[in-house]
Amino acid sequence: MLYNEPSPLETRVLTRRFGLPNSASLDTYLATEGYQGFLKAAGMKPEEIIEEVKISNLRGRGGAGFPAGMKWSFVPRTSPKPKYIVVNADESEPGTCKDRVLIENDPHQLIEGVLIAGLAVGAHAGYIYVRGEYRYLIEIMDQAIAEAYANGWLGKNIRGTGFDFDLYTHTGAGAYECGEESALLESLEGKRGIPRIRPPFPAVVGAFQCPTVLNNVETFCAAPAILRDGGAAFAALGVPRAGGTKMICLTGHVNKPGVYELRMGFPVKQMIEEVGGGIRNGRKLKAFIPGGSSCPVLTAEECEGLTMDYDAMAARKTMLGSGGVIVMDEDTCMVKAAMRIMRFYAHESCGWCIPCREGTTWLRKILVRFHESGGTRGDIDLVGDIARNMLGRTFCPLGDAAAMPTISIVEKFRSEFEEHLSGRPCPYESASHMVTV
């Protein structure tokens, strides 16, 4: 199912089958060049597959943007242990809802991507870890897997290539932290979803103590196109250090929110105005979150001339993240936005390390109180100070994810905090259109 009208400005690579009748079925998939990338890869050497992915400049779509080809090359090929492919479909980052449509509309594309990764690293089994709340996706995915088995696209000696591969789905139980790769692996193994100490990294010691390739759904979904049409073609869609397209989840105060596939490096202004149909009620832009609630927030001025790609975002000290764009108009209360974001992280902190566990709870308390006009001038600095001292000090990046937006909001919208000191009710309209946390 599609949840929004497609935009003519999209570059449809991963979403090319969206909207076709029975787009999730194997028949539709095979009729539209399905599994061609896999068949091509089956005739290549593993190093050649990885080289192709490197050429494509595909970077991880889960948030960190780590080059996928490089990650695959870290798997020790000579290791006698079995190797695993794990798909991160835990999609829980506020503002992000792209993996869900990818699975819903084209599950075979994901299966093919996993198979290609399996060929590249010599893995013969894979797991799709699906967010607990996405229960209905498991059915879709399981059905596609059953169809693939029935038609020889999974199982022993796939389509006569001599390659064996088994694929399973696994459901989470509703924890954001289980999207973090090592916590995901713990959860997959049936343990508490808490992060692991690193090193070692999953590529070397991952699922069940074996080398593991763990990527986001969108990352795997890009692999079929890369193998089918060549890495160079994929790279050409994007910018120099990041190839292809990016699934953008355009949310917040825009007229046409939705999931759009835009080429890497798409201008932010054009995205808001043309793809998203402009800001509601003709209001002005106040703040912009480019990639899910964990990214530092940008002001309207900072969005001038900005493009949607990793390096451009890094230059503005924020991140492309998962592509979960949150647009906030001039009536948004930034204190409330900070509070909402912190509520989420305090709720989702796993409780392992002190700065995150205690820090997020304390920040939540202070921000709630502040928004209710119970704050003091000193609290503003206190919030910033705590968040800054959490950043880079926590066990896993969840603590950073909580700290980054907070620091940026306090620094860039300090005046709004000061306005809350007057003791009167919040001077802004509610930020309720913003992602509900």
Binding site: A346, I354, P355, E358, G378, N389, R393
Partner: protein
């Protein structure tokens, strides 16, 4: 080896060394909360952070977990490091303001009061600070996994599964040992509520049996060693550099052929718990004689000092003689040694603690050489001896000042008055009894026991160390209560008897014995069950019984019992007797 620089000091360490260890080699202090040398790093508290120079800038890393790398430049006291540590402690103090270890670290960082109070403020000094050491010790070291963290985020707490008593808990106390705040308390007490230091069992799972043990090596107590319960732990193996710890060692059964045996299995002491009036196990500071011996021992738990459970010396001590001895309800006999060791206690306790001493006796049995003189000496030292059986030991009162004080009630038969004497320690001179397995041992060696349960000697005056079974001798308290000089004398006598037989090289036996006529024996084994000296065995190959002529005493029980007439007295078959009669009558 890896070279790195910490705070400007260059050092070399082995590959794999953590930054924390490297800093400790250089005497650089780094605070830690969730680190323990015997548990894998956890990196959760983030107190141990240090700053490391990377190609992309300075990075804060937890030193307890990050390994040293060639050429690393580390700073342990930069402003970033201190700020991060301060925040950790501030967050913790905001929640647990009174936990000593947090206050100590906070003071070291110049942090006085947190800028906020946590919504979950817990004022206790022994609050759980969620360091996770207990959980990891239970999982990694013990292997029991009886506790873990429940709930997530700020709700995190240490719990057993479903908050119920955990069946996997083996009560090893490892969690309490590692807990930095004493939130988990583990008070090892035996079933009578005694603190472990006064038990005669080892205090730890690996221990030196005694200070003078030969060979002087520690041994492992299987009952308390975690490894024998869960298969985990083995931390002793990790820390023992020469690799001398061996958990696989098993008891060996050795068979030794001997011709004579001296049974000297000693005694047990009477458990005074059933004598409820003496409050043993019910009130603190009521001890048995053997427990006090342990306390007085200079290698014992208190180093030989006389101490109350609260660690203070006693002001008055009551010593009760004849506990369970000379008592119709328990043992009628006199345990012989108690009066004298009670006087010894009076002397030693007074000397070491200056306490007032009260001995309660029925009669004073100073039976041996020099003993009466010792009694006079103790009297001269100022011990109070009261003739009268103690009726009961009770708590002196419920007020705060009287806490722990005990009251001894008795009748002083010399002045004909009922008396109540306040003390703070009571020593019960409990009876000596036969060892609990004396019956089994007796059966093993064919020994009889007197009505009191001690082994019976062949003749109390004429043969006091031999028994009715040849080659089996008794000595010591196994034969009856006695003190060490008597034990030694008896044991020497028994040894001499045994040596005499050995030096002779042969044994003389009576010609009177039984014998089996195999052709008549049906192998029914009626005889072997009856023989009081275990002299008859069954030869399975020939299906007949056989008499060991060295063991047979010629009592004739078997001869009378044999249903087929196969058992006869040697040289006394019916035919022989008839022939003899005929011979006599033929004259």
């Amino acid at each position: 080896m890896i070279r790195l620089t910490i705070d400007g000091k260059t050092t070399e360490v082995e590959r794999g060394t953590t930054l924390l260890h490297a800093a400790r080699f250089l005497d650089i202090k780094i605070p830690t909360l969730c680190y323990h040398p015997l548990i894998k790093p956890f990196a959760a508290c983030r107190l141990c952070v240090v700053e490391v120079k990377r190609s992309w800038g300075m990075e804060l890393v937890p030193s307890c977990h990050v390994a040293c790398q060639e050429g690393m430049e580390v700073s342990t006291g930069s402003s970033h490091v201190l700020a991060a540590r301060r925040l950790v402690l501030e967050l913790m103090l905001a929640r647990w303001p009174n936990v000593p270890i947090l206050r100590k670290y906070a003071a070291e960082l110049g942090l006085e009061k947190p800028r906020f109070a946590s919504p979950l403020r817990d004022e206790r000094e022994d609050a759980c600070i969620l360091c996770g050491l207990c959980v990891r010790a239970c999982d990694e070291v013990v292997g029991a996994s009886a506790i873990s963290f429940a709930e997530r985020g700020i709700g995190r707490r240490v719990a057993t599964p479903f908050n119920l008593e955990s069946e996997s808990c083996i009560a090893c106390g490892a969690c309490a040992l590692v807990c930095p705040t004493s939130y988990i308390k583990f008070e090892a007490e035996d079933h009578r509520g005694k603190p472990p230091e006064f038990l005669l069992d080892p205090n730890t799972a690996i221990y030196m049996p005694t200070a003078q043990a030969v060979p002087k090596v520690p041994s492992i107590d299987r009952d308390s060693c975690i490894h024998f319960q869960t298969g985990g732990c083995q931390k002793c193996v990790e820390v023992c550099e020469p690799g001398a710890v061996n958990h696989k060692m098993v008891d060996e059964e050795i068979e030794v052929e001997v011709g004579q045996v001296l049974v000297a299995i000693g005694y047990d002491t009477f458990d005074p718990t059933p004598m409820a009036q003496y409050a043993y196990g019910r009130l603190d500071n009521v001890y048995t004689g053997l427990e006090v011996e342990r306390m007085l021992n200079s290698t014992g738990p208190t180093g030989g000092r006389v101490l109350l459970k609260n660690g203070k010396p006693p002001r008055a001590v009551g010593i009760v003689h004849c506990v369970g001895s000379r008592d119709e309800n328990y043992h009628r006999y006199c345990s012989r040694v108690c009066c004298m060791y009670a006087l010894k206690f009076a002397h030693v306790v007074k000397e070491r603690s200056g306490a007032e001493i009260y001995n309660f006796y029925i009669d004073m049995r100073a039976f041996g050489k020099g003993y009466e003189e010792f009694y006079s000496r103790v009297l001269n030292e100022g011990a109070n001896v009261i003739r009268g059986k103690v009726a009961e030991v009770v708590q002196a009162g419920w007020s705060k000042q009287k806490e722990g004080a005990l009251l001894l009630r008795c009748e002083d038969t010399l002045i004909g008055r009922f008396r109540e004497i306040p003390v703070d320690m009571v020593i019960l001179c409990n009876a000596i009894e036969p060892r609990r397995d004396a019956e089994q041992v007796g059966r093993l060696f064919g020994l009889s026991r007197s009505p009191d349960g001690f082994f019976l000697e062949r003749h109390p005056k004429l043969d006091p160390v031999a028994t009715m079974t040849d080659g089996i001798f008794v000595a010591g308290c196994a034969q009856g209560p006695k003190d060490i000089p008597d034990v030694v004398a008896q044991a020497c006598a028994a040894a001499a008897r045994m040596m005499a037989t050995i030096s002779k090289g042969e044994v003389e036996i009576d010609p009177v014995r039984a014998e089996v006529m195999e052709e008549y024996c049906s192998g029914c084994r009626v005889c072997s069950a009856l023989c009081p000296y275990s002299a008859i065995s069954y030869v399975a190959e020939r299906k007949v019984s056989q008499v060991n002529s060295a063991l047979c005493k010629g009592c004739g029980t078997c001869v009378a019992a044999c249903p087929s007439g196969a058992m006869t007295g040697y040289g006394f078959t019916d035919r022989q007797i008839n022939a003899e009669l005929e011979g006599v009558l033929a004259v």
